[in-house]
């Protein structure tokens, strides 16, 4: 299922790019002024984004190196408040597409991990440390601090809410 999802994702990415290029060809034919100003805008945006991509590559490489599914599974067994802290940190540091984590999370639930912790893990995945340079570039450091603090708080609220609606069976 994972391989099929990945192949489908790659194909969709290319189809999307080809579709946009076709739109550009049509626009160039209909209105060359909009076509040329779009390309100028695209060039300026790419020039700004490329250095950020290099930084993202370095941060992602180090995250992939240290945060593995084995590392996550081991720490999901921590007791009490430590488990909450680990679940949120684990979610923040986890990488890759969300569906890649579903089998592991389903397995953890089979082993007795509450729905709330699974939900909190998935929620905190929204905070992406390797992508911070992009957010800082577009918004500001002050904004990302505010968003991160609120998101961490809501990861816990999400976990508690899901546990209230779907209480643990054990």
């Amino acid at each position: 299922m994972q391989l099929r999802n990945e192949l489908s994702q790659v194909r969709t990415s290319w189809y999307f790019l080809i579709a946009v290029i076709i739109i550009y060809v049509i626009v160039a034919w209909v209105n060359f002024t909009i076509f040329s100003s779009s390309l100028i805008f695209f060039y300026r945006l790419i020039v700004k984004i490329v250095p950020i991509f290099v930084l993202i590559f370095i941060l992602m490489t180090f995250t992939n190196l240290f945060i593995t599914p084995h590392f996550i599974t081991r720490h999901f067994k921590e007791p009490g408040i430590k488990k909450w802290i680990f679940v949120i940190i684990g979610g923040i540091l986890s990488t890759g597409p969300i569906y890649m984590w579903y089998p592991l999370l389903a397995d953890l639930r089979e082993k007795g991990v509450d729905n709330g912790f699974i939900a909190a893990f998935l929620y905190s995945r929204a905070i992406k440390i390797p992508l911070l340079p992009v957010i800082i570039f577009y918004f500001s450091l002050k904004y990302i601090i505010a968003l991160t603090v609120v998101m961490i708080g809501f990861s816990v609220i999400q976990g508690i809410t899901v546990n209230k609606i779907l209480p643990p069976k054990h």
Binding site: N5, E6, Q9, V10, T12, S13, W14, F16, L17, A19, V20, I21, I23, Y24, V27, I34, S37, S38, F41, F42, L45, I49, F57, M60, L65, T95, G96, I98, Y99, Y102, P103, L105, A106, N115, I118, A119, L122, Y123, A126, K128, L131, V134, I135, F137, Y138, F139, K142, Y143, I145, A146, L147, V149, V150, M151, F154, Q158, T161, V162, I165, L166
Partner: protein, 142 residues
Amino acid sequence: MFTTVRLKQSAAKTARSLSKILPLILGMILLISLIAASIPRIFYAAVFRNNPLLDSIIGSVIGSISTGPPITSYILGGEFLKAGVSLVAVTAFMVAWVTVGVIQLPAESIMLGIRFAIIRNVTSFIFSILVAIITVLLFHVL
């Protein structure tokens, strides 16, 4: 343990995962450029009304039904902000994009159960509105 071989393997894995989404990001940037060059700012003013609650709901709905790597949502959000869309709407849009997964709902339902998937996505949608409003309030206080 940290070794050069593991670092190389990790760099190769990162390069593979970034190369998979590269066409999508390029396409998205091309589309953003086209929209920015052809749609006047008045369009955004018509969709977003400068009402924090309504704008965050609209942002969350658009974010929930959109899909793709989070980086795309940040680039789109940043360009929306430059086009004059309010920060609360942009925040709701980005938070819903990464926390609500309407497109991934079937996969999540199969792996984690339909009740869990629906409850998680519905609460994530409601929280994306609250997160946006609180974040912007905190941003102005800091």
